[in-house]
């Protein structure tokens, strides 16, 4: 194997792919990147046995071939190389010589055939979606997944593509995530040639890697393939494949409240700032913050003994019953306000201890449900 390429190309590729390399595995071989030189490009692959990735960078190949290079060492070197042409040459004793300007590295490489091959999705259901839409959908749902491995299905995000079984839901692609205390659902109506009828649970880790790849990209489409065990995403020259989480995702349709007693509309940024300030005090008391609607305003209050208390007042357009009062974990509120793009949000509250619903004003695609906290004062 022998080739040379621009440092910039190489760095972009390596930094994108090295994130899925696992260093804490019982299988040391997967701490490597597979380099394959063919025609006028280099294919770089990584595989942590859960998620695999493959991408191509432009290069001038003088001799085709392949080798395994230690990911962490290589990425450390590449990020510090000068902005110039970098040459790679696989020599005797499986040593890779990396040269630039008048200097060079000699790096110990491993034979490529020891690397576990990427298990690609060959057949199954498929659809395309724009990278911008998909990125926004991931951003607005992924934060709500469960962090606990004990509750395995909730560490993933439900992906549905096809007609919704929920009355009034016009979307045909949906992402849903929940940790058992709150739920984020983002839908979108996109152009689909046919109804793919997909309903699978994708590990959050795979979606977060995908989000990095398509962040800020607005051209072309992400091609999604789904089999029984795996899901793959292809965008440009990047291919990402992940195994799916098997199991039953909770029926989210059941938990969406049908009606609300109080509906208020207010500035998203004002509410976020108020909630973040209240969170400073609430952190000392299990993040419990009380929400109250009265006199055309939303009051957010929190207090921690020996620390102090806070009362935030925000002007709001109130519809329905006033004097609604309910407590929430303030972190669950700031979480969603951080990912909502709209200027105004609506907060819907039901009677007593029913869930709160937060939506961007005038948009039906996004929905966030948060369960209240029963405090002894309220009881």
């Amino acid at each position: 194997m022998e080739f040379n390429c621009e440092k910039k190309e190489l760095q972009t590729g390596v930094s994108m792919i090295e994130k899925i390399v696992s260093t804490r595995s019982t299988l040391p071989i997967i701490g490597n990147l597979l380099f394959e030189a063919q025609k006028n490009s280099i294919k770089i692959s990584a595989n942590n046995l859960e998620i695999g990735m493959e991408l191509s960078i432009k290069a001038t190949v003088s001799k085709e071939g392949s080798a395994l290079l230690p990911a962490k060492t290589l990425s450390g070197i590449v990020s510090k190389l000068p902005e110039t042409k970098i040459g790679f040459k696989l020599g005797e004793n499986s040593t890779i010589k990396i040269n630039y300007d008048q200097s060079h590295f000699n790096l110990h490489a491993l034979p490529a055939d020891e690397f576990p091959a990427l298990n690609k999705v060959k057949e199954g259901k498929t659809f395309n979606i724009s990278p911008e839409t998909l990125h926004s959908m991931i951003k607005q749902t992924i934060f709500a997944v469960s962090g606990s491995e004990e509750k395995y299905v909730l560490t993933g995000v439900l992906l549905e593509a096809g007609k919704s079984s929920q009355a009034g839901d016009q979307t045909n692609v949906r992402l849903v995530a929940t940790d058992g205390y709150r739920l984020a659902k983002r839908g979108e109506k996109i152009e689909l040639k046919s109804d793919p009828g997909i309903s699978v649970i994708v590990p959050a880790k795979a979606l977060s890697e995908l989000a990095k790849i398509i962040d800020g990209r607005d051209k072309g489409e992400v091609k999604i393939h789904v089999s029984n065990e795996q899901i793959s995403f292809r965008y440009d020259d990047v291919y990402l494949v992940s195994r799916l989480i098997q199991g039953q995702f909770p029926d989210y349709r059941q938990v969406i409240p049908k009606k609300s007693a109080t509906k208020i509309t207010l500035s998203a940024s004002e509410m976020l700032r108020a909630a973040e300030r209240a969170a400073v005090i609430a952190a000392g008391s299990a993040n419990v913050s009380a929400f109250e609607v009265r006199g055309g305003k939303l009051y957010i209050t929190a207090n921690t003994p020996d620390v102090g208390s806070v009362t935030e007042v925000i002007a709001a357009d109130v519809k329905g019953v006033e004097k609604a009062r309910v407590s929430f974990n303030i972190r669950l509120i700031t979480d969603v306000l951080n990912v909502i793009d709209a200027e105004m949000v609506t907060l819907e509250l039901g009677e007593g201890l029913s869930p709160g619903v937060i939506k961007p004003e005038g948009q039906t695609e996004y929905l966030y449900i948060v369960m209240p906290i029963r405090t002894q004062e309220a009881a």
């Binding site: 696992s22 942590n48 004990e150 509750k151 400073v280 008391s285 299990a286 419990v288 209240p372 405090t375």
Partner: protein
């Protein structure tokens, strides 16, 4: 001094001291007799946790009137006849001590079934003549838990035998006796856990290891779910536990244990059961061979399930890709500790390490990742992240406002418990409610959880409750209300706190330190262990010999 022979009655009482510790020991001896008599149906009924009545009815080979009289005499048995038999024991009992021992500390009746098949043994007013032992009995819930445990173990050991346990008229356990281990497990542990089990079957040089083990996706807080049977006999042998746990190492988190119901069938000559009067301990002639057999059996079974799942999920489970100090966090936020809000934004942007005078301690590094290395600019401080978080949660649970705050669940969850766990939960239900749990009974041995303490909202509800119940069961528990309540407070704090090994961002570490210093006693955790260790300049100077 006059030396004389002890009367039989006293000998029996002394022997009973060793064999009959509590009502559960009586149940064990009687059930073993039923099984040794070839019963396929064993019905156990107790009143007041066995203190008032223990009745065991079976359909075994039974006894004649005359035999019932002989059976109550010391060292009378039908199970062995010569010393040679001791080395090839296939029955559960063999000493001939059980019945006379029981009869010496309780009112006992053996009633053969008139048809000649089956026997009913009734034991009333246990320890009526040994008040000292009676005094040491624990609460009904604890004693009942032990009985439930015994029956559960036998139901698992003998899937072909139908067991029924009734306590004060309520059926606690009912195994069908179909001969299928899965049916027995279903009766003991419920459908949810049963679904997560995979079969094991592995031959080795002197025998075979078979049974069921849990997938690595679930784990338990203690070893109580690791059950071993050697030649059909329930045993405790730490080498077997160790072999099992070794096979799971790297697959499940540290400090958690798998579920296993494993049978080791081994040449009787290779194992010595005559080690302990209650026969729970065994000795193997070749420990290494048995351990290796168990380890291999489990590894093979786990490999098969790994392939079932499409990829080897186990190898990289919990594989951490985010390194401390890296700015490249996953966009998953908020669920971790929720502590970052305590920090000012400016602090998060400074990449240079400097001691912030507004902070009691500035975190430098997360070690192992279990300890936070921090400093106030003068001393070096090591903080145990779990103990520190436990202390902050404990204080929050003591606060007026947050003590009983309940985070309601999106979808209520059902949890299935064993008999003992159910009783432990029932006797602590009010206290659990005090701290924010909302739990209701939902059929036999299952419960529905609607809300958890507000401080616990990062832990899945089911895991939290299960871990707490497991500990309640182990402790046995006090009968004093205040002690019980305090105990629950500690358990909720402990099981809701971040664990050793969980990675924290620099912001979370700083937030944790701030929260810790707001508590009443930042220096120790609720159990009295230190949350931090300080190394002064003087100590450093001394260590370096400067």
């Amino acid at each position: 001094m006059t030396i004389k022979l002890l009367p039989d009655d006293l000998i029996n009482k002394i022997a009973a001291g060793e064999v009959i510790e509590r009502p559960a020991s009586v149940v064990k001896e009687l059930v073993e007799n039923s099984l040794d008599a070839g019963a396929t149906r064993v019905m156990v009924e107790v009143q007041e946790a066995g203190k008032k009545l223990i009745s065991v009815a079976d359909n075994g080979s039974g006894m004649t009137e005359a035999e019932t009289k002989l059976a109550l005499q010391r060292h009378s048995t039908s199970k062995i006849t010569s010393a040679d038999d001791l080395f090839a024991i296939k029955t559960l009992g063999f000493r001939g001590e059980a019945l006379p021992s029981i009869a010496s500390v309780a009112k006992m009746e053996l009633a053969p079934n008139p048809a000649g098949q089956g026997l009913t043994a009734e034991v009333k007013t246990l320890f009526y003549n040994t008040p000292a032992r009676k005094k040491f009995l624990k609460s009904n819930a604890t004693e009942m838990g032990h009985i439930g445990d015994i029956i559960a173990k036998y139901a698992l050991a003998r899937p072909a035998v139908a067991f029924r346990l009734t306590a004060d008229g309520k059926v606690l356990l009912n195994s069908p006796g179909t001969g299928n281990l899965l049916d027995a497990v279903l009766a003991v542990y419920g459908p949810e856990l049963t679904r997560e089990l995979v079969p094991v079957d592995h031959p080795f040089r002197s025998g075979r290891v078979h049974g069921l083990i849990s997938r690595p996706t679930i784990s338990r807080l203690d070893k109580n779910y690791e059950t071993f049977f050697v030649n059909g006999r329930y045993v405790k042998n730490f080498l077997l536990n160790r072999a099992l746990e070794e096979a799971y190492r790297t697959l499940i988190p540290n400090g958690r244990y798998p579920v296993a119901i494993l049978f080791v069938e081994i040449d009787p000559a290779q194992v010595d059961v005559n080690v302990h009067p209650t026969k729970r301990e065994v000795k193997f002639a070749d420990n290494t061979m048995v351990m290796q057999a168990v380890r291999e059996a489990v590894q093979v079974a786990l490999e098969v399930t790994g392939k079932d799942m499409g990829a080897d999920a186990g190898i990289d489970a919990g594989g951490e890709m985010v390194e401390i100090g890296s700015n490249d966090q996953l966009p998953i936020s908020g669920f971790e500790t929720g502590l970052q809000t305590l920090i000012t934004a400016s602090n998060s942007e400074s990449t240079e390490l400097s001691v912030d005078p507004a902070q009691p301690l500035t975190p430098i590094y997360q070690l192992m990742p279990t300890y936070i290395v921090a400093t106030d600019g003068r001393e070096l401080v090591l903080i145990d992240q779990h103990a520190a978080h436990e202390r902050t949660l404990y204080d929050q649970l003591s606060g007026k406002k947050t003590a009983g705050a309940s985070q309601i669940l999106l979808v209520p969850e059902t949890i299935e418990l064993s008999v003992g766990e159910t009783l432990a939960l029932m006797s602590n239900l009010d206290n659990l409610k005090c701290f924010g749990f909302e739990i209701a009974e939902f059929g036999s041995n299952s419960f529905i959880v609607r809300a958890v303490p507000a401080v616990s909202a990062k832990i899945p509800a089911k895991q939290l409750l299960h871990d707490i119940v497991t500990e309640l069961l182990e402790e046995g528990g006090s009968t004093q209300l205040e002690v019980k309540k305090e105990n629950i407070r500690k358990l909720v704090a402990c099981h809701s706190a971040i664990k050793a090994g969980e990675r924290l961002t620099p912001l979370e570490m700083a937030g944790l330190i701030r929260a810790l210093f707001l508590t009443e006693n930042p220096l120790t955790c609720p159990h009295g262990r230190p949350t931090m260790i300080r190394i002064s300049q003087a100590e450093l100077t001394k260590m370096f010999g400067r």
